[in-house]
């Protein structure tokens, strides 16, 4: 009795994937597809280095402009003898916004401040901040570390470009931020 070809294939080892898929279909079975690898979950920790987008959202109770405001930054390790740390700047040659965060992986924490000029967001409003940023660093795949969700506790102010600091409001509160690679 001739073996059913499907049965023969089932015993065959090392068969080509495509051939196996076609045969499985012809045999009336649902294709046994190799399951795709699951998306890697973010891993705690990672190196904060390179080009990032710093996004800030004011605390709801402040009555400041709603929405998220975006600032491109460049980050680099800035360790001290006592602690690992990193620094992020909007413009390394003449920064208007500077972040200095102590880094005890995966937790990062430190001061994020602007000069009197404030810094212009991609959305067109100018922002001033003097606040402590804190968040957990995580890494997806082989990329650099990121802070997907952090707290920015302290002073935040907004104004139209060219207007005085705080023309659209200023507030001391726990705002939100993220630092994502770009």
């Amino acid at each position: 009795m001739r073996r059913h070809p499907c049965a023969d294939h089932a015993r065959r080892s090392g068969g080509a994937l495509i051939g196996a898929l076609l045969l499985a279909g012809a045999c009336g079975h649902q294709p046994v597809l190799p399951l795709p690898s699951p998306s890697p979950s973010p891993r705690p920790g990672g190196t904060l280095e390179g080009a990032y987008l710093f996004r800030v959202e004011a605390a709801a109770e402040c009555g400041l402009p709603a929405g998220t405001f975006t600032f491109p930054l460049t980050a680099a390790p800035a360790p001290t003898p006592r602690h690992p740390a990193f620094q992020a700047l909007d413009d390394p040659s003449l920064p208007l916004l500077q972040a200095e965060l102590q880094y005890g992986a995966p937790e990062a924490r430190g001061g994020i401040g602007t000069t009197e000029e404030g810094v212009l967001s991609r959305e067109g409003l100018r922002m001033w901040t003097r606040a402590i940023g804190a968040g957990t660093v995580s890494t997806e795949g082989t990329g650099p570390g990121e802070i997907p969700a952090g707290a920015l506790t302290g002073y935040l102010a907004f104004a139209p470009d060219g207007a005085a600091e705080g023309a659209l409001g200023a507030c001391f509160a726990a705002h939100r931020f993220s630092l994502r690679r770009r």
């Binding site: 800035a78 200095e100 402590i132």
Partner: protein
């Protein structure tokens, strides 16, 4: 004697009515203060030893000025950087913030109101501007300039300044409550500290042990003029051990001594040296004057954090100014001491 009086005693004044032409002193005051400084100078400069002129401008620009007048925030870098002599700095008075009729929500100094209190619709809960006068390091007549500063800080000039500002009574004060002698103690050990690399490279007052014990900061002049304090840099902090917990009671229990101006301080407290720190006060103005001491201070209440006691305190810079753009070697809040006791 006050610091200014000691310096004055060491400087010679020309005799009033001397035959030679009287020197002309220039006072540069920030726009919020200039109109009332002008009136106060007119009331103060009556000795005849010099003439005066008052101009509105940036007090951080000391060139061409004998005396500069600005708010604590405006003058921090100028005083700490030595462009004005911190030993000569004296308070002239305060100007509250207001919201004016018909204006946006933006608060402005009361002195910006064209018709004084009639234009005011509200007084935001915001620290008043503190008019601080100091002698410019570029003054050609430092002795006369110091004389003028001293006169501006005394009656009748102080009364003239207050009347000009026109703030309603009670006038906001920045003189703190006295220390309670005999019932206070101080931080005894440093548990941890952190300064970012940028601040470590640029600040020179990086020794955390100097925040221990009673307040003893001073300006001793010279290239490195301050002693007895630690500058916290951009967002840096120091964690201290009180030796035994401070217990919450009526009023405030914790006083942080901070030097030179009013750089803000954030305070956290815990009964564990490494974790569990709870926010007690966020970016609090730390420029309340302490009679008899070089340092200013700010007070904190454990009840604001919902704590009944705490043994460890984390004192954090609240100024958080970009380190790479800063202009002094003492950036951030400058901590002299941490004191606990009922007040």
């Amino acid at each position: 004697m006050t610091r200014a009086a000691l310096l004055l005693a060491s400087l010679a004044l020309p005799a009033p009515g001397a035959a030679e032409e009287r020197p002309a002193l220039t006072v540069r005051a920030s726009p919020a203060f200039a109109p009332c400084v002008r009136e106060a100078v007119a009331a103060a400069a009556g000795v005849g030893a010099y003439t005066t002129s008052v101009e509105a401008g940036r007090p951080s620009d000391v060139s061409g000025a004998d005396v500069v007048v600005g708010d604590d925030d405006e003058l921090t870098a100028t005083l700490e950087g030595g462009r004005a002599d911190v030993r000569t700095a004296l308070d002239l008075g305060t100007v509250p913030w207001v919201v004016l009729r018909g204006a946006t929500r933006e608060a402005v100094p009361l002195t910006a109101a064209a018709h004084g209190l009639r234009d005011v619709v509200s007084f935001p809960d915001r620290r008043p501007l503190v008019a601080v006068a100091a002698v410019s390091s570029l003054s050609g007549h430092p002795g006369l300039a110091l004389d003028l500063v001293r006169r501006l800080a005394e009656e009748p000039a102080r009364q003239v300044f207050r009347a000009c500002v026109g703030a309603p009574e009670p006038v906001a004060s920045i003189v703190g409550t006295p220390r309670v002698a005999g019932s206070v103690r101080y931080a005894v050990a440093v548990v941890d500290w952190w300064l970012p690399a940028c601040s470590l490279e640029r600040n020179v007052y990086n020794d955390p042990s100097l925040v221990l014990g009673p307040p003893d900061a001073a300006n001793v002049g010279g290239a490195r003029p301050f002693r007895g304090m630690m500058s916290l840099g951009q967002g840096g902090h120091v964690v201290v051990d009180l030796g035994q917990p401070v217990v919450d009671g009526p009023g405030t229990e914790i006083r942080v001594y901070q030097t030179t101006s009013g750089e803000p301080v954030t305070l956290y407290a815990s009964n564990d040296p490494r974790s569990g720190f709870v926010l007690v006060g966020l970016q609090r103005f730390c420029g309340f004057r302490t009679p008899g001491l070089f340092s200013n201070h700010c007070d904190f209440d454990l009840a604001d954090a919902g704590l009944s006691s705490a043994r460890y305190l984390r004192i954090e810079d609240g100024e958080i100014y970009p380190c790479l753009r800063a202009g002094t070697n003492s950036e951030g809040a400058d901590i002299d001491a941490v004191e606990v006791g009922q007040r």
